[in-house]
């Protein structure tokens, strides 16, 4: 598979995943705030932080009160083209990358993204956002699910799809880790597994909701959604599709598929990094992780994910076997 094309595949599904995540996060937070009373600073600011946008947001909106303005935060993370993780930016970059590799992802996948983009940019997306925000965010998430489903059902299950899935899984893994980390910061001291206040319980529930994890959680976990149970579920539950460990397991599978049997040296460094990270998590219980420091562990997950992306780049997108070094970079990043 052409390296440049592979790189675009890897990124385009990440962008789709990112749009979905942002949509879910905004919607969950919006609903959550309707019937709880939280200090101002805990209402919207965590959403900006999870999105990795704290600094850029402060640059664009220097007023310290801005991060408490729910409408502003939502507009920024949904419509602002200056925000690289906003829904509109993610959709734009997903589509731009898809356009370059339209032949690799197939007509059906492309048309899904293109239709989504036109809906978002045309008046109907805007109107729905103004009129029925829940439905708007739901549509964004559905578009992402549709894209994933259409690709799985129509593409050959070979390299282009493998790179797409790999990208999406690494993105998802990082998102879940960040989401847990930020919540933990806000609620930190309560992760003790002992009785929590109703507000804390509601917050843990909201965290589950932000990861679409409420129903799966209650199928697996008897008892209250305590901090330890929720955090444990979101990090270690092997069967939950958004848990950190599940994403790493699946990503490992796709990386294995991508490595050519005939050339075992190809893809070694990315595979080893990924295997190491997953192994480290699997070896621990949630109690051990909490005792050793959740924030440190999650930081390790997030940093190693970034290293894995760099390694994937070096292993597959910029192969040293091919002189001369490529001059033109692939599409991909905002």
């Amino acid at each position: 598979m052409i390296s440049r094309v592979a790189e675009s595949c890897f990124w385009l599904h990440r962008y789709v995943e990112r749009a979905e995540n942002t949509a879910r996060l905004l919607e969950v937070n919006r609903l959550f705030l309707l019937d709880v009373s939280l200090p101002e600073l805990q209402r919207w600011q965590p959403v900006v932080v999870v999105s990795g946008e704290r600094e850029r947001f402060a640059e664009h909106f220097p007023d310290p009160e801005a991060q408490n303005d729910g409408e502003l935060v939502q507009t920024y993370l949904t419509w602002d083209e200056r925000c690289p993780v906003s829904i509109v930016s993610s959709a734009y970059w997903a589509r731009e990358n898809a356009r370059v590799v339209r032949d690799a992802i197939g007509s059906a996948g492309w048309e899904t993204l293109n239709g989504f983009w036109h809906w978002l940019r045309g008046g109907s997306g805007r109107r729905l956002w103004a009129f029925d925000r829940a439905e708007f965010y739901l549509r964004v998430r559905h578009a992402a699910s549709l894209f994933q489903g259409v690709c799985q059902a129509n593409m050959l299950h070979e390299q282009p799809l493998d790179f797409m899935r790999l990208g999406a899984l690494l993105e998802r893994c990082g998102q879940t880790a960040r989401m847990v980390d930020v919540k933990y910061h806000t609620l930190g001291p309560t992760v003790r597994g002992i009785a929590e206040t109703p507000l804390e319980a509601a917050q843990w529930l909201a965290l589950l909701r932000s990861c679409s994890a409420v129903e799966p959680f209650f199928k697996r976990v008897r008892g209250l959604p305590t901090g330890a149970a929720v955090v444990g579920f979101l990090i270690l539950e092997p069967d939950f599709p958004r848990s950190v460990l599940h994403c790493l397991d699946r990503a490992e599978r796709f990386l294995r598929r991508l490595r050519p049997a005939a050339a075992p040296e190809v893809g070694r460094s990315s595979a080893e990094l990924l295997a190491g990270l997953a192994r480290g998590l699997r070896a621990q219980s949630i109690e051990q992780i909490l005792a050793a420091g959740l924030h440190e562990e999650l930081t390790r997950v997030i940093d190693t994910s970034a290293q894995i992306c760099d390694a994937v780049y070096a292993d597959y997108f910029n192969p040293t076997l091919a002189p001369p070094p490529s001059a033109s970079a692939a599409m991909h990043e905002p």
Partner: protein, 490 residues
């Protein structure tokens, strides 16, 4: 009452062909041409309101499917759809059969000409085409003398532009033998047409165009240096900013091969490789949509970033098939066009089946004098321009424009030819409120591997503006689905 009457009007009820112009669907007296009358009746049965709805649906399908060409002015570039008119252009079977034979003949002759010009150059030695005319062509690449492409095929894909004169005969207006584009619109137009006006297909038996990608792939692979089973095929595009990018991607998808940019390929030991996720991978056949001059910075324009350094060496060594071949520009030079009938006689010992437009070469003194004397009666074209640019339509020009062109011709006589203005035929076309006569041309596509195949129909382009003769998409042109009927109507 009046509104109701308007709304239920049939699509062609009030249609009137232009006087002294051939109409594709109607005779001058307003009755449908017998060979295509069934389609005319079926079209007329669609009432206008319904038609408008269908036309809107068609436009939205083009947008949603991203069948667009881009005009990049800022980061969020503008994408336009190539305007599509739902009223098809219909060709009777007998009419088409003759055209297809003529195209086959013409492309065979052009191919033999290219093989000759880059080989023994017999036709020049015998004085049938002036040597200096050939060698002064911008598309002539002397460095490729003696390089014979696999199978001796130069023109893998030809787009031959035809126009119908008032007498009803289809004439060749120009040959496109380098990177003719537009075939994706033929295929997509048909898809959209089937989707929005399915009933129309029930009354007419229309020949399918689906085969094109398979035929092209077959033709390209059978000419691969390693044989069809072992040759890897790629489509080479200048990239996403090229206006025909959609088509490049479309063809790669339809042929099941990789779409690459110049930077994805490299040459090592006179062989071409693609940079893949598992290391270099050999490439044997390149369907390129990059112009000759940009193809290899080592051989042509050194500043090209679209090409592949060393590609021409690999080509000359016979390790890669490039389609279309390099150097084809000499054969579709608008000066050389005048000699194609001569080529047909010289190489095939046949008389040309298709007529063409009388052409004056400004490089010839007596021709030039005639052109300059009567500029208002001619269409003047730059020999190496396309897309409707670099052109003067004499009868519709201003005095200043004529003076400017006269000067240009005097400065560079080899650079210009002149032809009489052909009264292009018209086709009923939706003009927003009602159906009007608009001028059309036709670009059929001819695919050559070891044998030659003509796609039934081709791309019908239509000048959407009233009175306009310019059908190019860059200048207000649109397109139509082109129907070659399977059998004569009863």
């Amino acid at each position: 009452m009046k509104r109701n009457h308007r709304r239920s009007r049939g699509l062609l009820s009030d249609y009137r062909p232009l006087p002294r112009v051939h109409d594709e669907l109607f005779l001058e007296d307003g009755s449908p041409r017998p060979a295509v009358a069934a389609v005319a009746r079926a079209l007329d049965a669609i009432e206008e309101g319904e038609f408008r709805t269908r036309q809107r649906l068609a436009d939205s399908v083009f947008h949603r499917n991203g069948i667009t060409f881009s005009v990049y002015s800022d980061q969020r570039g503008v994408e336009r759809i190539f305007p599509f008119d739902l009223i098809p252009r219909v060709l009777a079977p007998a009419d088409w059969a003759r055209v297809a034979r003529g195209l086959d003949q013409r492309v065979r002759a052009l191919n033999l000409f290219l093989a000759d010009v880059y080989g023994e150059a017999r036709i020049l030695a015998e004085g049938r085409i002036p040597r200096e005319l050939c060698e002064s062509s911008a598309g002539f690449l002397p460095s490729l003398r003696g390089v014979r492409p696999p199978g001796g095929v130069y023109v893998h894909v030809a787009g031959i532009d035809l126009v119908r004169e008032p007498g009803g005969e289809l004439l060749v207006l120009e040959d496109n033998l380098r990177c003719p584009s537009g075939v994706s619109y033929v295929l997509e137009n048909r898809e959209v047409m089937k989707r929005v006006l399915p009933d129309l297909f029930a009354t007419a038996h229309v020949r399918s165009v689906d085969e094109y990608p398979t035929r092209l792939r077959e033709a390209l692979l059978e000419l691969g240096p390693a044989g069809p089973a072992h040759s890897a095929l790629v489509v080479l595009t200048p990239g996403i900013h090229n206006s025909a990018y959609f088509e490049h991607s479309f063809l790669a998808r339809q042929m099941g091969c990789e779409l690459v940019q110049g930077s994805d390929l490299f040459v090592h030991g006179d062989r071409v490789y693609a940079k893949t996720t598992t290391g270099p991978s050999a490439v044997e056949v390149i369907y390129r949509r990059v112009d000759d001059q940009f193809l290899d910075p080592q051989s042509f324009r050194a500043d090209s970033v679209l090409g592949v350094p060393g590609l021409v060496r690999a080509y000359a060594a016979g390790n890669v098939t490039i389609a279309n071949a390099l150097g084809n520009g000499v054969a579709d030079d608008k000066c050389i066009y005048a000699f194609v009938p001569e080529m047909i006689r010289f190489y095939l010992s046949e008389e040309p089946i298709l007529g063409q437009v009388e052409t004056l070469l400004c490089s010839r003194e007596q021709d030039r004098a005639r052109v300059l004397d009567r500029l208002a009666d001619h269409v003047v074209k730059a020999v190496d321009a396309s897309g409707g640019y670099g052109m003067l339509i004499g009868p519709r020009s201003t005095r200043e424009e004529r003076a400017e062109f006269a000067e240009r011709i005097r400065q560079n006589p080899r650079g210009y030819i002149a032809q009489p203005l052909v009264e292009l035929s018209t086709c009923p076309t939706w003009a927003g409120h009602d159906t009007k006569a608009r001028r059309v041309d036709l670009r059929p596509y001819v695919v050559s591997g070891r044998t030659t195949w003509v796609l039934p129909g081709g791309l019908t382009r239509v000048a959407l503006e009233e009175g306009s003769y310019v059908v190019n998409s860059s200048q207000g042109g649109g397109s139509k689905d082109t129907w070659v009927l399977e059998t004569e109507a009863p």
